[in-house]
Symmetry: C2
Subunit: 539 residues, 2 copies
Amino acid sequence: MVRLNCALALLGAASAAMATTVWPLPEKFITGSHNTAVGTISISAVNSTSYVLKNAISRYTGIINHESFLAPVDYRQGIIQTNGQLGGLTVAVDSTDETLCLETDESYVLHVPENGQATLKAHSVYGAVRGLETFSQLISANGYARVLRNTPIYIEDRPVFRHRGILLDTSRNYFPVKDILRTLDAMSYNKLNVFHWHIVDAQSWPVESKTFPQLTANGAYGPNMQTFIRYAKDRGIRVIPEFDVPGHTYIVGMSFPNIMSCMNKQPNWSKYAAEPPSGQLNIAKPESIDFTNRVVREYSKLFQDQVFHLGGDEVNRNCWNEDPYVRAYLAAHPGEDVEALLVNFYARVHSYLEVLGKTAMTWEETLFHSNYTPSKDTIIQTWIDEQSIPKTVAKGYRSIASPASSYYLDCGHGAWLSDFDGNSWCDPFKTWMHIYNFDPLANITIPAQRKLVLGGEVALWAEQSDETVLDSRLWPRAAAMAETMWSGKVNADGHVRTTKEVASRLHTQRFRMVGRGIGAEPMQPLWCARNPGNCDLNE
Amino acid sequence: MVRLNCALALLGAASAAMATTVWPLPEKFITGSHNTAVGTISISAVNSTSYVLKNAISRYTGIINHESFLAPVDYRQGIIQTNGQLGGLTVAVDSTDETLCLETDESYVLHVPENGQATLKAHSVYGAVRGLETFSQLISANGYARVLRNTPIYIEDRPVFRHRGILLDTSRNYFPVKDILRTLDAMSYNKLNVFHWHIVDAQSWPVESKTFPQLTANGAYGPNMQTFIRYAKDRGIRVIPEFDVPGHTYIVGMSFPNIMSCMNKQPNWSKYAAEPPSGQLNIAKPESIDFTNRVVREYSKLFQDQVFHLGGDEVNRNCWNEDPYVRAYLAAHPGEDVEALLVNFYARVHSYLEVLGKTAMTWEETLFHSNYTPSKDTIIQTWIDEQSIPKTVAKGYRSIASPASSYYLDCGHGAWLSDFDGNSWCDPFKTWMHIYNFDPLANITIPAQRKLVLGGEVALWAEQSDETVLDSRLWPRAAAMAETMWSGKVNADGHVRTTKEVASRLHTQRFRMVGRGIGAEPMQPLWCARNPGNCDLNE
């Protein structure tokens, strides 16, 4: 398909300079020794009936023609002499089908000659989207002009994990639409493909409901929701909504107090909930199941993704044990207990979701801390313990890794209750190095079980976050996970990449993102970014 | 001077609602039971020859007439009926002298009647600046109009500590001028009065030098420096520059390698410096002293404040012990040693600063970890140990409290060396509650020694900070210190304020700052800000 000439050499330690420009690292990356001048870019599609592809081409044409980026490590670089001139980029896809799901093929092949037309080939439009991002990252400033260094370049690339996500909690604090859209842009710069929208929680229900309009008293994401989902799809990002039941539902009780238990118990809320305000759906009432299923029905249409997240975390049994209605119900129904009521609740809600044709995703408590047995196609998101990942796949379930100990981006900012000056429950702060070092496949040796690890999500819970810190809490740390999810942790030659050797390239990605309007926080003093290898502990 | 009517009552727990609007808390705060309508504000000065005062009046006229602020706790508030109409505000100062120093009087008296003209009286123009901030915080939105609640209001106010500062490190990473100016705005909203500019360090020298133009190879604060100092003065903020010698000076060696020791030792930099790159002025060379004194001479003119900070922290003896030139010098001068050279260096530099008419400020190592004896008017800034404060004043020195354990705002984001995924040396993160609970007068009982504690500074070291996180790292945590510095920790009735009882008022201040364009990070879920007392641990 692509002819390689003799000047090409496999990327190894010796050509690390080239590798500094692309994040996450492509699977196969072959470079030459020429430099190619880049004028105003023209990108064309061979078969362009896909709007996703058309929009991506338009987007990257804009990014590339406006960007003048020099990596910090290159700050002393003078003008580079060029040997050829890029003619443009031609994109060809095997299919213009725009279906976006877990199985979507994101692979691509990119060839940039030392002179003339570059080509990008992909099976799906989403593979083309990924290849366009890579292509944009290959170009750097050359004085007032632009250059592709180390041409010809040949890249074959595809992700190691299929589910690479960010969880954003928009309930504890509200995030304006423009900030979420910017987050989707930033995700596409890192080839992330799942936006897990923890859209409601105890504190607010910021999504318009036609079924229950009273839920959204204080502002909500409304008609812009479709725009939002389309914006994500254009970037190859699935939007998985989470409606967390039966816990974390105080806000429901503000409209429907009759279906609730333990509403805002004070001052001893900690007996009833993980954080204030307490409140859980009353699982002894059929109305709670009816409410939940109507919510699921409405939002499973709005959010078109195959997967629908039903929460299920941090359920508090004491909330129901002390509830007068639950107690009366159990007294009248000998043989039943709170656990049986919870199993019934899950069974009714999960089976209704199945009727709607959706796949359930839940937090690990549903599997490990209740008597309920989810159906085998349920996707289990683990957070409590890193060992929950091997445990999940050992039971035959598919796993999404979100261990709080490595992937919770909100941690480390101290406890937030007004009268307590101690640490947060998930201290310390998760550095990008800590995130990069986490291996979701650790302690899983059986190949069939390793395949059940679909990927991972970093999570930004928003008790102490809103738009003032969104970018800096997410980036560049989410980018660190993005590389381990796209490229894995191991090079083709078996070498496990270290944070020391990828630091310079992540600096480059961080500064590129800042240039594109993402307020990613700095990793080190600028001097360190400019002088790789000088800011290591060396122990 | 001001006639109080019978409707006035001393602020106590019962009128806490009123107190929610002003941060930091005024010393004496008497409120009534009326509500006064506020139209477009006109502020006039009785004696207006001071540009500081004129500029402040212009600034606050703009802020007040554009602001429409409702505290989160008041979000359910309907339209308040008013009983009177504010006529305007008249400002009178006893003196139009614009001298700004440690001894500047910042007291003021503010009277807002239920109807008619409000008056603000102060001894100095800077007292008027503080009173204008308070006045602006008394006004809140009332539908599409504005209102002063609980009038008449009588406030007598003055700071408990005279030195209330923020240290910003602009060397590890660069901060654009506009971001520093915004920081000065934010400081004035919290009545902070010292901007400690840690302007240079090992990694860069971002301030123009006419004496040594070669120091600023990579961009520097240049002609805008005067604008900057004037901007600070207009807000009653002193600018104290720090030129840290003899350690933390690698960047000097990039221009003057001949006066340096242990330049960028790799990979074992940790034997020579607290962080890379290592490099200290060679104290065996008279040229080092000459260089330092010429730096001091130039910048002590540029920065007009009485106080000049000479650094002196984290000096590494091993750097000199292994230096060939130092070793040869000591071999040729029996009886001398590294410690004697250091004492000589300090003596020469400090005495030259004295000749220039300035007061020295240094880090605590100069006093506690060297054989040098600073002159008694040296101001000692402590950071290593909270007990260094009582030790400093016990020796008869004036103390500025900056304990890393409470006041270092950069801590808690993990270590930043590329190959180490552990914690930062000063973990954990310092929450606003932890900062508020710190008492700089702890363990100091003798009144004369308590008076030697001039105040404190929170510090933002910038290894992991730049403009992307400036606002969120500083605020609202610097505001927490600001109140303990302005209002002390104890009410007039002896009650020690708790974080639980001030949380709602700090939420108000945080949201007010966000409204004024300061990206202060959120303290809690919005629900907590709106429902005070519901997000406490209650243990």
